[in-house]
């Protein structure tokens, strides 16, 4: 129960950051794809710079988790097709709905009922992928 509460708290923290930074705003995503603001690039870029440094520090110093276990980073499977094609399909949806999978929940919480349609679409899209996965090039 204590663990679940800590995940709930991390999620809440994430939701507040998504909402307050306007990364959950359709308008910010559109502006990003128009290259008319540094805002979204600044968010992703600064998160990444700290992310790269932190991951290197964890690896080089063999840092342990809060529970004393070794931290494992699972490398992504090699390949090009699935990442390029899947990524492009995702990008089309990201720009159209103006929301990626995290902010969808944030926007539902913020009271935008219509986002539930995007969520249902995303669940359905995931289901369709699962059905035809073996027929797709990866």
């Amino acid at each position: 129960m204590k663990k679940i509460l800590s995940y709930l708290f991390i999620g809440m923290f994430f939701g507040i950051v998504m909402y307050k930074s306007e990364a959950a705003s359709w308008f910010r995503i559109y502006e990003m794809f128009q290259f008319q603001s540094f805002h979204m690039y600044g968010i992703i870029g600064s998160a990444l710079v700290l992310g790269v440094i932190g991951v290197q520090l964890i690896k080089r110093n063999n840092l342990k988790s809060f529970y004393g276990e070794p931290i494992k980073f699972v490398p992504k499977d090699k390949g090009i097709t699935r990442y390029l094609v899947g990524g492009t399909i995702f990008g089309l949806g990201w720009a159209l709905a103006g929301s990626c999978p995290g902010p969808i929940y944030t926007l539902i919480g913020a009271g935008y009922v219509s986002i539930i349609v995007v969520l249902l679409g995303a669940i359905l899209g995931t289901f369709i992928y699962g059905l035809i996965k073996d027929k797709l090039p990866h």
Binding site: V74, I89, L120, T126, G130
Partner: protein, 185 residues
């Protein structure tokens, strides 16, 4: 403390996202939001239809708690930490959007033309939201991750596949905004 009610700048938001990723890493988990969509499918019984959904969804309960938290955070952010919903995007972006028919640009958090309750009664905007969602869900699973899993977690770990996926995100996003939007709107 007044700044808290203003929109947060990128140099506050970006580092906070990195902290969220490291909190999860130090708990022994990975930051990735789109995998929850697969969990929902399994919870609804999709494991009987396709092997892809045949996994122990209960092992993902932690991520479902993150999702519930993300919604709660949206509620708190919108209702207790904000004075108004205006997103101050670039004036040039606002005029481009107004030409496309998005008159709410510059005065709303989400475009009324797609997300208002009235828009829900229009077949066009309803279909666009559904199609947007379909592409997000299908693409994220095909690519094995979304913005959090690839652009943040994957790139932080210097994963080439994540870089390819992020390049894909931008090919798709740029094509949608620059080529398809003028045709759709």
């Amino acid at each position: 403390m007044e700044w808290i009610f203003e929109p947060w700048p990128w140099y506050v938001a970006g580092p906070l996202i990195a902290i969220i990723m490291f909190l999860l890493i130090f708990i022994g988990k990975q930051f990735g939001m789109s995998s929850n969509l697969r969990t929902f499918c399994t919870m609804c019984g999709a494991d009987k239809t396709a092997d892809f959904f045949n996994f122990d969804w209960k092992s993902q309960r932690w991520n479902l708690a993150v999702v519930v938290g993300a919604a709660l955070g949206g509620f708190i952010g919108a209702h207790y930490l904000s004075n108004d919903v205006t997103v101050a995007i670039n004036p040039d972006t606002i005029s481009t959007l107004k030409e496309l028919g998005f008159n709410s640009a510059g005065s709303a958090y989400l475009p009324d033309e797609l997300f208002s309750l009235e828009a829900l009664t229009s077949v066009k905007s309803l279909s666009l939201l559904l199609i947007g969602g379909l592409l997000i869900g299908f693409g994220a699973r095909y690519a094995g991750g979304c913005t959090s899993g690839h652009a943040i977690s994957g790139l932080s770990n210097l994963q080439l596949p994540s870089l390819i996926a992020v390049i894909g995100f931008f090919i798709g996003g740029l094509f949608m905004v620059h080529v398809l939007f003028p045709l759709i709107f």
